[in-house]
Amino acid sequence: MEAFANLVAATGIDADGLKAAEAASSAGFAYGLAAIGPGIGIGYLVGKSVEAMARQPEAAGMVRTTMFLGIAFTEALALIGFVVFILIGL
């Protein structure tokens, strides 16, 4: 609490402004973290799908359909992080 008071005094910003700035930066950080997980997931998902399609091109239609739905479901996690970001930090 003392550190917070010192920071307010040093920056000259009022406490509400500082809290808003910290909320915005925390939300941005959380959105970045929320985007990393789906990025890894999509990379793994597409990599395995490409491997499957290269081995069995006759099954490509089925693999592409499930891959596309998998990408969209994984992306939903990033969208949830984004919505939290716009509600808290934007």
Binding site: G39, V50, A54, I71, A76, L79, F82
Partner: protein
Amino acid sequence: MTMTEPDPITTVLSGPSTEAMVSKDIIRRGLIVAPLLIAVCGFIWGLNGAYSSAYGVAIVLLNFALAAAIVATTARISLGLMMGAVLFGYLVRLGLIFLAVLLVKDAGWISLPALGATIIVTHLGLLVWEMKYVALSLAHPGLKPARP
């Protein structure tokens, strides 16, 4: 007998683009449920909620269309290219959604809770709805699922 490893760089997919079909189905269903979503958001958040909900539905449907277009276009060139395009496409699409929201965040008609709720509900709802039909057609290829 020697086994040759498949090369994703030179493998090309021909035939109908299934993700384009799935995406068209999702967009068609999205347009069917859009008035209901807009009405619900309008009831909860007022006129601003209705406008924001319409904007959110448009963002989600365009996102699906763009994702399908990226996969369908690059799969005809190379599987390796498709993988790169999907990964960078994910980043680009997230950036575009961020930009679309950033452009309107200070507009008088925007309601951020309505926009956020619409994005999540529309995205997940349409996916679950589409998955029901895709799962049925994969499990029973001879059956044609009834239209909604």
